[in-house]
């Protein structure tokens, strides 16, 4: 095991895959000479040169589409968005093209591409820079959506994403880039897409949380443990395909579930998990599934409002208290 920052884990994965496969290249705003807006691609230009580490203009729609075409042409692009908030401009290429080209051509064209970058909010950056897009993209057939929470997951899943022959969205977080964690130093460390992980075992309640919300769930769980409530935390790591059996198994054990999701409440990850649990484990539930999400409101700038807007450990604890009837 080696201790790595989240950003280093992603970089190591990209580096290893670039070393292994000539067809893999990176492009995006400030990824090359500036070494990445968040230093995820630091050093890659020096190592792989200008052919494979490419700075783009601020033309998200254009370079996402060039990525799709390059993938159809036999390459394996890794397209960085400075954040997924800016990938909105490229949504046409992701949603209308990357996910559909294989199907529309009756399987004649493949699109092995990774779109990656930070997702959701990063503090007080205002309404246009704070949206979580993983649930939205998961609605579209033809995409795999990953939103990881820890360096080890980042490393193993990024390698899988790059090797995957389909379009994959790989989501990170500005606020997690500096986070340190043990990362397997197994050679060629791969975590299969679609495999969740029990990150904390407990028998009283299941919390499903991914991405930045995983860390909020951990804080809540630590607090709850002091009160004698043992939380089991499942990090699905991949939003789609979803590791449903892992979640259902846990709920069958704890009989209670809280989903913590960084998106707005309507038709998101949390609602989907809630639905699936009632379908698969209805008879096991001792309480309705609860969720903690963002409110149905744009991100405010003001610190006081932002702190109230962003899901907190306190809200998670309240939800746990509700499903355990401790209120």
């Amino acid at each position: 095991m080696a201790e790595l920052q989240f950003r280093e884990a992603i970089k190591h994965a990209i580096d290893e895959e670039m070393g292994r496969d000539e067809r893999v290249f990176v492009m995006g705003e400030e990824v090359a000479e500036y070494n990445g807006a968040y230093k995820v691609t630091e050093g890659l230009l020096d190592k792989y040169g200008f052919k494979r580490v490419i700075d783009t203009p601020i033309s998200e729609l254009g370079f996402a589409g060039i990525g799709v075409g390059a993938a159809m042409g036999g390459l394996r692009p890794i397209v960085e968005f400075m954040t997924f908030n800016f990938a909105v401009l490229a949504a046409d290429q992701i949603i209308n093209h990357a996910t559909k080209v294989k199907y529309m051509t009756g399987g004649q064209a493949d699109c092995p591409i990774v779109f990656r970058g930070p997702n959701a909010s990063a503090g007080q950056l205002g309404a246009t820079h704070s949206v979580a897009y993983d649930s939205m993209y998961a609605q579209f057939p033809g995409l795999k959506v990953i939103y990881v929470s820890e360096p080890d997951d980042a490393k193993g899943l990024m390698k899988s994403a790059i090797r995957d022959d389909n379009p994959v969205l790989f989501m990170e977080s500005e606020q997690m880039y500096g986070l340190k964690g043990e990362v397997s130093d197994e050679e060629d460390y791969i975590i299969p897409i679609g495999k969740g992980k029990i990150k904390r075992e407990g028998s009283d309640v299941t919390i499903v949380a991914h991405g930045k919300m995983y860390h909020v769930a951990v804080q809540a769980a630590n607090q709850l443990a002091k009160d004698g409530v043992e939380v089991e935390i499942i990090d699905p790591r991949t939003v789609k395909p979803l590791d449903l059996p892992l979640i259902i198994e846990s709920v069958k054990k704890t009989n209670r579930c809280v989903v913590v999701d960084e998106a707005h409440p309507f038709a998101g990850f949390a609602s989907e998990i809630g639905f699936l649990i009632q379908r698969e484990a209805f008879d096991y539930l001792d309480a309705p599934v609860q969720r903690v999400t963002l409110p149905d409101v744009n991100a405010p700038f003001s610190k006081k409002l932002f702190d109230a807007w962003f899901p907190s450990p306190k809200q998670v604890i309240d939800a746990v208290n509700q499903v355990t009837y401790r209120t």
Binding site: M27, E33, Y34, D55, P57, I58, L89, T128, V297, L305
Partner: protein, 366 residues
């Protein structure tokens, strides 16, 4: 066919480390400044003094903002306009006060110029309820709609079509107003600009597209992110165009007045590249390795605020005492703004739900 050797293939133009020895690189080449004196431009002595005050206010406001940011008084991004003040000032003096203006996130100077008070501006930076956008927008979203300043926007290029939309409304309603949409050199590369330029020309919208080319888009020099001369984008749309020296407030004033008159008269768009330079980093966390100190100093030597001061002094429009009075007064005004911001209340948590919909009690999904 033999496969070509591919190792030396390059896509993006190279930049850092490519400078030829000893020669200071230039972010932008400035066109010559106007030679006209203020009277020939139709500017009174009072206008000159007011212009100086306005530019000095923008500068001090941002220098103090920076300090407050570094003290941890507020978070988020802080993009400073320092170095570019002649553009906002020259434009606002050239336009009618009712003409519509919209810009990107580097918006403090524009806001101050269009009547956001230093107190309202500083309080917005601090995220306070007394801010111009009630603390909901922060640095990137200063706005004062009643003064026809429609705000700063955070998605690069996103507000370009909106500026044309304001022009559409002006044409539709026959208001006789024009609108101008200001954006950076980086935004030139967004499809939104090109789609909008085509429609604006096709529909004869009274809009001015203005690129504030400060030489860099974050850490990328303009010549590394965009081809050819930016101003030449206009040719493909048969749009009238101009290049302006943005380090000289007289030049901005002169040209923008001509252009505003033309657009108002003919209801046809204009594309303008104003060349300028930003003195500070892109935002607060920019190590600025992409440019040299010498390059920055080249532009600081021709600072637009000092230039106007020199002009005012050497043309005996005002004396040193005037500057002492103005500078002290503005300094105090900015310090008062800091105090006001610091002491103002944060919005109430419930206020978070205000301004989402027009109704008093809208539906929020839970």
């Amino acid at each position: 066919m033999a496969k070509k050797k591919t190792d030396d293939i390059v896509f993006a133009p190279r930049g850092i480390g490519e400078e030829s020895d000893g020669v200071v690189q230039k972010g932008v080449d400035l066109p010559p400044a106007t030679k006209k004196k203020h009277k020939a431009l139709g500017l009174s002595e009072d206008d000159l003094k007011a212009m100086y005050e306005q530019m000095y206010l923008q500068r001090r406001f941002e220098e103090r903002s920076m300090q407050q940011y570094q003290k941890g008084k507020f978070g988020g991004f802080l993009h400073l306009y320092i170095g570019q003040e002649a553009i906002s000032t020259g434009t606002v003096f050239a336009f009618d006060d009712k003409d519509d203006i919209i810009t990107g996130y580097r918006d403090h100077g524009w806001g101050l110029c269009r009547g956001i008070t230093p107190k309202e501006g500083m309080a917005e930076l601090f995220g306070k309820a007394t801010g111009c956008s009630k603390g909901k927008g922060g640095s990137m979203h200063f706005a004062k709609a009643e003064n026809h300043f429609w705000g700063g926007y955070g998605i690069v290029g996103g507000h370009i079509p909106i500026g044309a939309g304001l022009a559409f409304a002006n044409k539709y309603n026959g208001t006789g107003k024009i609108s101008a949409t200001f954006f950076g050199d980086g935004a030139v590369d967004q499809g939104a600009l090109h789609e909008t330029m085509n429609m604006a020309q096709l529909w004869k919208l009274p809009v001015i597209f203005v690129v504030e080319n400060n030489g860099y888009s974050m850490g990328t020099a303009a010549k590394r992110h965009t081809v050819a001369e930016i101003v030449d984008r206009a040719k493909g749309y048969e749009m009238k165009s101009a290049v302006i020296n943005g380090m000289d407030v007289f030049s901005v004033y002169e040209k923008m007045k001509e252009i505003a008159d033309d657009v108002r008269e003919n209801s046809k768009p204009y594309f303008v590249e104003i060349r300028t330079y930003r003195y500070r980093g892109h935002s607060m966390s920019d190590p600025q390795k992409y440019r040299t100190k010498e390059e920055l100093e080249e532009y600081q030597k021709i600072d637009p605020i000092l230039k106007l001061k020199d002009y005012i002094l050497s043309n005996k429009v005002a004396d040193e005492a005037f500057f002492t009075e103005v500078e002290d007064r503005i300094e105090q005004e900015v310090l008062d703004a800091v105090e006001f911001a610091d002491e103002s209340p944060f919005p109430e948590v419930e206020d978070m739900y205000d301004d989402m919909f027009v109704e008093d009690n809208p539906y929020f999904h839970v």
